[in-house]
Symmetry: C2
Subunit: 258 residues, 2 copies
């Protein structure tokens, strides 16, 4: 199911819309976090044409995001280089997502420090084992997924997968990266004593390559539980492109239910 | 200069206040990020007594925070376990800081995964070399600072220091941790080719120990530039207590000027 059909439905104003095909991008009763964050970015760009390149976002997942949405976009501050924009999504009339987004012009770099490759490097996606796309009616059906780590089952709370969208035509690589950047479950899942629901509460990230370049749509996604206790986990989320350059660096708070 | 005197001045409503002694906590023309984030947390707690334990925040530094402030606090969503609160600070009538804060009750943990110690461990603060407190009229005058890494000058973009507030009486350890959590300059400073201004644009963090326990007020602070280019850097911020347990995990986007 084309994510582009959801993107195409976003208006440039706050009129309510019903997204066609949203039911194919659900994680339970909500659009999954990567999809809703990508919609919020596109709403900001559509409402405010001429924004500088997208750099970062702090996204709060407030309530389930369904198919009946209204987008509200507001410039919080416009500086010389950097514009900060709030992009909110209401679902069935109630606030469901709120994001503070950062757009900034490139400057001649004073500091250049490329992020490190994934370690250990799993090899290119083409050489890795293909996995199933998860349960029916789950958003992962829209993705190709390949194993990118040797570890399986319980253990160190890190998860790595090569991921790409099956249908990418007409979809900006930045949108693809955001959709895929929150596609894996929290790494702390691998430290759970028993199966139980998990939920991302927020997601903050920096886009390291403002063009999110990659080959054939492939990104290496990682979620790593830095710490888990008290029913919560602190997660580190990263995305590398097919050549091993890091594209996205992020973190989130997740709720780990009993 | 006691940070508690700033904290004590925060009202439980949105009446404008002038913070006594704010001039001692400035970083140029703004209160530094850790101080203003701590004020936003205290404003939330004061306006909404009975909140569950503080867990996380996504803070946007929108404009300089001066001494004449007004605090606005609003519940964004109250769920069974988790309450999300927006806490904003206006300075001289204009939005200067906006934060989405997460408060959540503890649950019987399904996943327990303690964060790792700092590596390499610098030894306890008492054994480390004391450093100066920076320039006069700079907020670092309120802190004791000790070296916690061998590296000096230009090089790998990581900075580690033992830090504590000189005057801690009456100050909640969580507030101390937040004040200190954004006290170091971005690690990418060590990758800069020439001196130039730096500026944190946002700060997202999870509080791993909801009581922020430590000994004698000491925290080990780290800023690590994960990636720098185009005039921006992606920073990872961590705080450990005096016994080496991680207390705070965070990230930020910084602007690195020429």
């Amino acid at each position: 199911m084309r994510f582009a059909s959801l993107i195409d439905a976003i208006p440039a104003d706050s009129r309510p819309v019903t997204l066609p095909g949203a039911e194919n991008w659900m994680q339970g009763r909500t659009l999954f976090g990567g999809a809703s964050a990508a919609l919020a970015l596109e709403a900001a760009r559509r409402a405010l044409p001429g924004l500088p390149p997208f750099r970062a976002a702090q996204v709060g997942f407030v309530a389930p995001v369904g198919a009946n949405l209204a987008f509200t976009v507001e410039i919080v501050r416009q500086g010389r280089n950097v514009t900060q924009v709030r992009s909110d999504i209401a679902s069935d009339g109630k606030l469901a997502l709120t994001a503070l987004m950062l757009f900034g012009d490139s400057r001649e770099p004073n500091a250049v420090h490329p992020a490190a490759r994934a370690d250990p490097w799993p090899g290119p996606p083409e050489d890795c084992e293909a996995l199933g796309s998860g349960p029916a009616n789950f958003f992962t059906q829209n993705m190709e997924i390949r194993r990118a780590q040797d570890e399986r089952g319980r253990g160190v709370p890190i998860m790595r997968r090569w991921v790409r969208l099956r249908e990418r035509d007409g979809l900006d690589p930045i949108i693809q990266a955001i959709v895929l950047g929150d596609a894996l479950p929290p790494g702390s899942m691998r430290a759970m004593q028993r199966q139980g629901p998990l939920s991302s509460i927020n997601w903050s990230f920096n886009l390291l390559d403002p063009e999110a370049r990659t080959r054939d749509g492939w990104f290496l996604a990682e979620t790593a539980g830095d710490h888990a206790d008290h029913g919560y986990s602190s997660e580190r989320l990263r995305l590398w492109n097919a050549d091993g350059q890091q594209v996205l660096a992020g973190m989130q708070a997740a709720a780990i239910f009993g």
